[in-house]
Structures are given as C-alpha cells and as structure tokens.
Symmetry: C2
Subunit: 232 residues, 2 copies
C-alpha cells in the first residue's frame, strides 16, 4: 500500500500545495491523478474545487480529473494511477463517499496498490475512523468509519496548547485524551508542515517537525521525523 498523509494543503504564506512539489513528484509516478473534491472547503462546488487542484497538478505535469466527471466511480478508479482527496469538511466528505457508494471500492483500490494522497480531511480518511477530526459536524454521515488504511487515527492541523490563552474551550490534547476514554487506537497529531508516507510495511514521518503520538493509558510523546514503521 502507498499513502501520503498530509496535515495541511497550504503552509501559511505559500501557494496551495506548493511546499509538497518534490514529495508529490516522487510519490505519484503515473500521470493520471483522480481528485476527490467532496470535502468542499468553504462550501465551494465540486467543479470549483477540482479546478483549484487541477491547476497545481497540471503545473507539475500531471493529468487530473474530478471523480464526479466520470460516468461512475468504477470507471474513475480504473482510469486513475493515483488519487488525491483534498481537505475541507470531514463529515461532508465521509457522508458523500458513503451516499455515493464510493467508500468500499476506494478502500479496495488503494489496498490493491493505487497510490493515495490526502490532505487534512483527506488524511482523516486514511485512519480507522474520523472520530479525531477537528471539523464541525455540519452533516450526519451514516458512519464515522474511515478507510482504515493505517491502524491508527489522524489528527491533522495539530495545535499545541496556547499557555497565554484565557479561552475555556478544550485544548486539542484534552480532546484526544477524551477520545481515548472511548476508543483504543493510537492517534497521530500531525502539525502543519508534516506528513506521513507509507510504502508497504514502511511508515515515515516527513517534514521538519516532530509529531505527537497519543496512546490510550499513557502520556503523549513527541517523536521526530524518520522511521515510524512500528505503528503499522
């Protein structure tokens, strides 16, 4: 299985996806990249979102098409030599994938070797469930189960507590600790600028930052970029 699990599509002050150019070039070896626009950031349409991603991927020498432009998703998955699921609202993404019957077939295709890249909501999708998303539950999906391409959950856009804050809302760490009162799997808190790359049995944390690993019943720890294959 080949995965690129990216915390955020954009780094502050840089154009959309631009900081990932080299990584994407070494990850997607075929030209035909399928875009899944269902997370609809800011409520933009599937067409508008596909256009935005296509602009960048075309610049990088790929041919990109939105999954909704095919007769059906089977045709789309047959055409694709890689898949990219963009960020936005995780609940909208998951509900749409279930409602259109795409979830199981997408999972099979990636398990059979189709390279999968996700950012933000698209990264939540690679985990066991989307129960560690930061998003607002603006629609009700038929399940919180995700693709389960890794045996843990992702928390993208991971944020450290702000010691100067007077806000009483829960910190991210508190929320993930609450998750572990009801769920067993580890959670990887991926900061903006970090990503995980899976190549078969090998898992690597990339970017310049550490990531935060939460396991049930033990204190969270920081782990450096490099080999994280023990999580698989």
């Amino acid at each position: 299985m080949r995965l690129l699990i990216v915390s955020t599509s954009s780094i502050h002050g840089k154009p959309y996806l631009s900081y990932l150019k080299e990584e994407v070039s070494s990850f997607f070896k075929g030209k035909n990249i399928l875009f899944i626009p269902y997370a609809r950031p800011g409520g933009i349409t599937w067409d508008e979102y596909t256009e935005k991603a296509t602009e960048r991927f075309t610049e990088w020498g790929y041919t990109m098409r939105g999954i909704h432009t095919f007769e059906n998703h089977t045709e789309a998955l047959n055409w694709a030599e890689g898949v990219f699921t963009g960020g936005g609202n995780t609940f909208v993404l998951v509900k749409t994938l279930y409602d259109l019957g795409v979830m199981a077939d997408l999972k099979s295709a990636v398990e059979d070797g189709l390279p999968y890249m996700g950012s933000s909501a698209g990264s939540n999708l690679t985990g066991l469930t989307v129960r560690t998303t930061n998003d607002m539950p603006i629609v009700y999906p038929p399940s919180f189960d995700a693709l389960g391409l890794v045996p843990f959950n992702i928390n993208p856009h991971y944020l450290d507590p702000d010691p100067s804050s007077t806000h009483m809302g829960e910190t991210r760490e508190t929320r993930i600790n609450e998750f572990h009162h009801f769920n067993e799997q580890p959670v990887v808190g991926l900061r903006e600028g970090s990503w995980l790359r899976r190549e078969g049995d090998k898992l690597e944390l990339k970017g310049e930052l550490t990531a935060r690993l939460f396991r049930k019943g033990v204190a969270a720890i920081e782990r450096a970029p490099g080999d994280w294959s023990d999580l698989l």
Copy 2:
C-alpha cells in the same frame, strides 16, 4: 418554556459556575435540581461530575442529584424542579441521552415547564441540532438532532478569528458559514461570559458581551445584550 443557555460554566480565573450565582438564583425557584452528567468532561465519571456540580449548587442552597442515581429517568424528572446539563463532549452527551431513552422525555418535561439550564455541551442540546458543536466526534450518536427548545442552533465558546494566527485550520466563522451550505437555521455564536435566558416568548441575551448571529445567505452580525425575542 424556561431556559438558561450558557456559553461556558467557567470564566478564566474564577471558580466553576461562580459568575452565574445571581442568574441561577433568579432562574431556579424550586430547590430540587437534577444534574445530567453525561457529557463527562475529560472523561470523568458520572459520580465525579455530579459531585463537582453538587458542591456549587449546595453552596447556593439547592438540593442536587444526578439523573443516574434514580431508579429510572421518569422518577428523576418527576423529582426535579429544575435541570442542569453540564458541559463536556456533546457527542458523548447526545449518544448517552439517546441510548438511555432520555431525550424525548426530557424534551417533553422542559416543554411542559421544567426549567432547563445548560452550559457548553448542555447548551448545544437546546438547539435544533448539535451540528454546530466545537467538540470532537469521539463517539457516534444515533442522531445529531437535539432538544429543539429554540428554533436555532448554538455555538458556545464562540471565538473571533485571531488576525495574528498563521494556523491554516478553519476559523469558527468559516465553519459556521460551511454549516449554512447544508442547513437553514440561524446560529447564535455565544462568547464565554454570555448566556441566553428564555421566559416563554421572551428571549434575552445576558452578560456584558455582544453575540454573533449567523443567518444563511447574509453576513453575520453582532448584536448587543438585551431583547432577542425576534429569534423565537
């Protein structure tokens, strides 16, 4: 119907609920207050959470009992002269209320005149749905429908965008605007230190701060404390 819809149970630097002493005293006229501890902040037990709330309410001269200490919830609602639902995780709260069959009976009791106070997750519960919660979806409830005691949704702990932030996660306003791509009802963004009080057909914003009113298709506006009855 009588409601007290509070953004947060604690203001930074002040003891639990203390800033609400006068408001609560004028709101709950009977002595027997039922506590609903199901939101379990930080994963604490029903008993621990009930103990925390009971300490404050006892100090204020009330008799408090947790809903889980009764033979069944019918007996609990019959005993109660007021209900307080504490904050924590909205998904855990809603799932528990549905799983235990409490939701419909609680709604009927409040509609029949039982005074209801909620803070944070307990305030989300008064809206039409919990689709504007800030919480992490750590469990999967059978529905996102809430008590529907007001014809809008609540967003507690409302936070203004931080202009100095370089974080790429969505602002609260962006999230609520995304909500309006898929939902019709207004959303009241209640800042910490604000609360709504409903007395029959009268709705009032209380505290010292403005609140932010989001309606589908129009720009959000700030509205001052005072009469908000037009929202009912």
